[in-house]
């Protein structure tokens, strides 16, 4: 269970601190999905980064199964991230020096949770099986995004955080990839918190929330 309480975050600028999150409260039960929407600069990506332990909040707390995340050291947060979080970025952020097979299993093996059968299944479902020896730059945009999804799910993380996962794809490809993504998240038994601009895609998830000027608007978006 992910619980966010009164979360504040600002960034220093030449004109003084720029508040991005201004008291966010949120709960995400296990095996559920949530779409986070909002205009550019509303703080969606920052919230994702805070949940992943990539950044420290100014105030408030993020609790994972009741345990505060940000009181942990960087090493502990990194360990937690590799064992419990699957990250999918709009720009894929694949490891260009490793081939598709190594990229796919990278995080799972890093977390000692590599399940060969599950990885093979993911590769087949994501249509990556014939491409395992290729390097990321030899893949199309859609293939790269599928690979990023596969890598995030290979360790069967408790929580998948996706930042505009289909933002670089055309509408048809987006539909197909998202469908596959949601199916696999469900099969992995993970929760999903996905940032998206698309209302249409957001409707496919269990819940939708709107972030506006650093605050979550009440009710379902």
């Amino acid at each position: 269970m992910l619980t966010i309480q009164n979360l504040y975050k600002s960034f220093p600028t030449a004109q003084g601190p720029l508040p991005v999150l201004r008291g966010v409260d949120l709960q995400l039960p296990p095996a559920t999905s949530l779409a986070l929407m909002g205009e550019s600069g509303s703080g969606k990506s920052t919230l994702l980064h805070l949940i992943a332990g990539l950044e420290q909040p100014d105030q408030g707390s993020i609790l994972i199964d009741g345990q505060p995340l940000h009181s942990r050291s960087e090493t502990e947060r990194a360990r937690w991230r590799r064992e419990n979080i699957g990250l999918v970025f709009q720009q894929y952020n694949l490891i260009s020096s490793l081939d598709t097979a190594s990229n796919l299993s990278f995080q799972a093996r890093l977390a000692n949770r590599h399940d060969r059968t599950w990885s093979t299944y993911l590769a087949e479902r994501l249509c990556l099986a014939p491409l395992l020896q290729r390097f990321p730059e030899q893949l199309s945009g859609g293939q790269q995004q599928r690979l990023a999804i596969g890598r995030a799910l290979a360790a069967r993380p408790a929580l998948v955080l996706a930042d505009e996962p289909t933002g670089s794809l055309d509408e048809t490809s987006s539909e197909i990839v998202l469908e596959l993504f949601l199916q696999l998240v469900h099969e992995a038994g993970s929760s999903l918190l996905m940032v998206t601009h698309s209302t249409h895609l957001a409707t496919r998830l269990n819940r939708r929330l709107q972030l506006h000027l650093g605050r979550l608007l009440p009710g379902d978006a």
């Binding site: 950044e55 960087e74 991230r81 990278f106 995080q107 890093l110 933002g167």
Partner: protein, 823 residues
């Protein structure tokens, strides 16, 4: 358009100042090291030219003694009376005692008889101040540098070590360093050579008529053409070539930095170039602007480089001058006076370096499809092509090196061997590293170790040039270090054997030497007096020292022979054989058992070569004969020194007696310990400049690696950020990056070791043989190798420290920026 285009291009450096600094630093260092070395060479060569041109003009041809170094003045008188327009010269060394004894080359001339169009010390004879030069007390002309070395001032009348008072000193700015010119009468007094002359100058037009010498002089004198006179230039050529080779290596290493930085700038500016082209800038204007930009860098760095080169040369000149004095007796001024051409050449070399380093990028700018999107992988693909081309070029260079080794028989071919071998090794390095990493990747099973190797391979193209620089610098250090250390051991062992006498005496002349010998024979405690008879002559156009040896057990026990026939010493003693120094045997292309005819009058039978011996440090060839045979064939041979064997405890007393009895100063009476110390000092100073240049080259390689890592660090965040997001800590990333740098540097260091040993072999077995005439055994010193390997790794560690520290201190925001949508 060009101005707009240039301002757009220059805006890149505001955003990437580090790359700009890299280019400037590379060109600055390359220019500084190259011009510094050239300044040393130019200064030395200018001084040799001044020394050779002491008596320049028409009077270049000369008459010299057939036997010995001097002849009677009566020959001059006879020739003048017969209408020969000859002018007499007496030459010798004049010693000055002191804490550091100094000797100068004293030249006595007769200005009235010098041909009208000749010049002395750069001054036409027409402009001589004859009144002061010829009338008592006369004048002694010296260069400002010599005056400074003697610690004297104009007008001083110093006393020589032999107790002779000199005429007042007068400065002649054009005079070569280490030379003093006096009237011939003064010279005969100062050198204690009354009625003696060294040579007679002849106007060339008169010499061309080939007049016949009077019969009685034909056996005494011989004509020596002017061309035979530039021995110093020839002897020192190899020394300067060595310096030039080191300078060139440093220059190339510096250019590696520039090449790497320009290449990266091109990749990063591909978008800008595309935009400029899209906005209507022609390809010609774009290339023109890029070339102009490069020229601007070259001018700024060139100015700084030339100034630094001057400073570097000033710092090294002392050691180089001492080396040249110790090795060849060549006098080089202790300060630099360089021509405007040198300064212009320095700027030229910077422009040439920039052109060489940037040509590839300019061509790629002109040829690559600029409208294609810039991708990291596009660069890697281009590099893969270059890797293949580099390997092919390396193979061609290796074939050239092999051909030079197999068929080369000269100093240029020896250097061509090095000039092919080193770049070949550098060019093949990236391919070897890539293969080694590919091999290592098979051993990796964990994801991080797989990434570690795969990412290292990806970094390779960007780091290749810096690693090549490290390879070359380290191999040069290993090669030159092994050669120097091997030479040191061989030389010291040889010195220990060769310097067996307890006391070495240099008499003023043969008469004094003979008197000393008689006196020494009567002294209690003296076990043996070994006279050294010497004669300088030319064999097949080469200057050669003939040395007469007494048959004595001391030589049989202590004179190390490299090759010998049975009973070699007995053959020498009986006058039925001769021994050659290794370098002379090589120059004359003579082997053991072959015969050599000596230029005697009347001709004498050729003698077999019964042994070859090492004669390290002597630039001239040497030939040993039985002393009685030498004196019989050349009665004019001089008794150059006496080596005295006696128990060590008797040395101080005998030394004191000799000093008081014969008024010998410390330069003429030297004990074994002092002589060894001097020899070792000369040896150490000889390699001081080499060692300094080597260290500088290694430092430049370190700078190359540092700049490459720093530049690479900027573009590597995109590779490291995903790992961080996947749960690898920043500290781990920093350690992994350090490991990658050390692994690549370590593999380079590993490859540099055998390359360095191969280089050492080339130096001792090929270059030294061609340059100096002696071949040294190849020594490998494991501790030295370990030391240099650690130094190489330490240099890499230092180069990696700052970029890694920056990486470890990266704010999460910097890494998060890699995930931002707007990229």
């Amino acid at each position: 358009m060009l101005r707009l285009c240039l301002s757009a291009l220059l805006s890149h450096w505001r955003r990437h100042p580090l790359q700009g600094i890299s280019i400037l630093t590379g060109l600055w260092l390359a220019t500084a090291l190259w011009t510094g070395v050239q300044a040393l060479n130019d200064q030395a060569r200018a001084d040799y030219a001044r020394a050779n041109a002491l008596l320049a003009g028409a009077a270049q041809t000369q008459l010299v003694a057939r036997q010995g170094e001097r002849f009677a003045q009566s020959a001059y008188v006879q020739l003048r009376r017969a209408g020969w327009p000859v002018s007499p010269v007496l030459e010798g060394r004049l010693r000055f005692a002191g804490r550091e004894p100094v000797s100068v080359r004293l030249l006595g001339i007769e200005p009235l008889s010098l041909p009208a169009d000749s010049s002395v010390a750069g001054q036409s004879t027409q402009g001589f101040d004859l009144l002061h030069f010829l009338t008592p007390p006369g004048q002694a002309w010296v260069a400002p540098d010599t005056l400074q070395r003697l610690g004297l001032k104009p007008g001083d009348q110093p006393t020589s070590a032999d107790g002779q008072r000199l005429p007042p000193l007068a400065v002649q700015a054009q005079l070569a360093p280490g030379v003093m010119i006096v009237d011939i009468g003064q010279a005969q007094r100062l050198l204690q050579a009354p009625e003696q002359l060294s040579r007679l100058l002849l106007p060339n037009d008169f010499a061309r008529t080939l007049p016949a010498l009077p019969d009685n002089l034909r056996t005494q004198l011989q004509l020596q053409p002017a061309a035979d006179n530039d021995d110093l230039q020839h002897l020192t050529e190899s020394f300067h070539l060595n310096l030039s080779a080191l300078g060139l290596l440093a220059f190339l290493v510096g250019l590696f930095i520039v090449h790497a930085a320009i290449g990266l700038a091109l990749e990063q500016r591909r978008g800008l170039l595309r935009t400029l082209r899209a906005c209507g800038v022609s390809l010609r204007a774009l290339i023109g602007a890029l070339a102009l930009e490069l020229g601007l860098f070259a001018l700024i760095a060139g100015l700084a480089g030339v100034l630094s080169g001057y400073l570097l040369a000033s710092l090294l000149l002392g050691d180089v001058a001492a080396s040249l004095r110790g090795l060849y007796g060549a006098q080089v001024a202790g300060h630099l006076s360089l021509s405007p051409q040198w300064w212009l050449a320095g700027l030229g070399i910077s422009l040439l370096g920039a052109a060489l380093a940037g040509l590839n990028s300019l061509l790629r700018s002109a040829q690559l499809p600029l409208l294609a999107l810039a991708q990291a992988q596009a660069w890697r693909q281009a590099q893969a092509l270059w890797l293949r081309r580099q390997s092919a070029l390396a193979i061609v260079l290796l074939l050239i090196a092999a051909a030079c080794w197999r068929w080369g028989d000269s100093l240029p071919s020896a250097f061509a061997l090095l000039a092919s071998l080193l770049p070949a090794a550098a060019l093949v390095l990236p391919a070897l590293l890539d293969a080694a990493l590919a091999l290592l990747s098979r051993l990796c099973s964990t994801p991080l170790s797989q990434w570690f190797i795969a990412d290292s391979r990806q970094q390779l193209p960007a780091l290749a040039l810096a690693l090549m620089a490290l390879l070359l610098a380290l191999a040069a250090s290993v090669g030159v270090g092994s050669m120097t250390e091997g030479f040191r051991q061989t030389f010291l062992g040889w010195l220990d054997q060769r310097l067996s006498a307890e006391l070495y005496i240099t008499p003023r002349d043969t008469r004094q030497g003979l008197a000393m010998r008689r006196w020494l024979d009567e002294q209690p405690g003296v076990e043996a007096v070994l006279p050294q008879w010497r004669l300088e002559l030319r064999l097949q156009g080469l200057p050669v020292q003939l040395q007469g040896m007494l048959d004595h057990d001391s030589y049989r026990q202590h004179w190390p022979l490299l090759e010998q026939q049975p009973d070699a010493w007995a053959s020498l003693a009986s006058g039925k054989g001769l021994m050659l120094s290794e370098q002379l045997a090589r120059r004359l292309k003579l082997h053991l058992g072959e015969r050599l005819a000596l230029p005697t009058t009347p001709p004498s039978p050729a003698l077999p070569v019964v042994a070859l011996y090492a004669d390290y440090g002597n630039p001239r060839g040497q030939l040993l004969l039985n002393d009685e045979l030498l004196r019989r064939l050349w009665p004019g041979a001089t008794l150059s020194s006496l080596n005295v064997r006696l128990p060590a405890e008797h040395v101080p007393a005998l030394k004191a007696q000799l000093q008081s009895r014969y008024r010998l100063d410390s330069t003429r009476l030297v004990d074994q310990g002092t002589l060894k110390r001097w020899s070792v000092e000369v040896f150490e100073r000889t390699f001081a400049a080499t060692a300094a240049l080597n260290s500088l080259t290694l430092s430049v390689a370190g700078v190359a690696l540092f700049i490459s890592l720093l530049t690479l660090g900027q573009s590597r965040l995109g590779q490291l950020a995903p790992l961080w997001a996947l749960g690898v800590t920043r500290r781990q990333l920093a350690w992994l990056s350090l490991g990658q740098t050390l692994m690549l540097a370590g593999l380079t260091v590993l490859l540099a070791m055998p390359l360095g040993i191969l280089l050492a072999w080339c130096l001792v077995a090929v270059v030294n043989v061609q340059a100096f005439g002696w071949r040294l055994p190849l020594h490998v010193f494991p501790m030295q190798l370990a030391h240099l390997a650690l130094l190489g790794l330490f240099t890499s560690l230092l180069a990696a420290a700052w970029p890694l520290w920056q990486l470890a201190r990266r704010q999460p925001a910097d890494l998060l920026r890699q995930f931002a949508d707007e990229r």
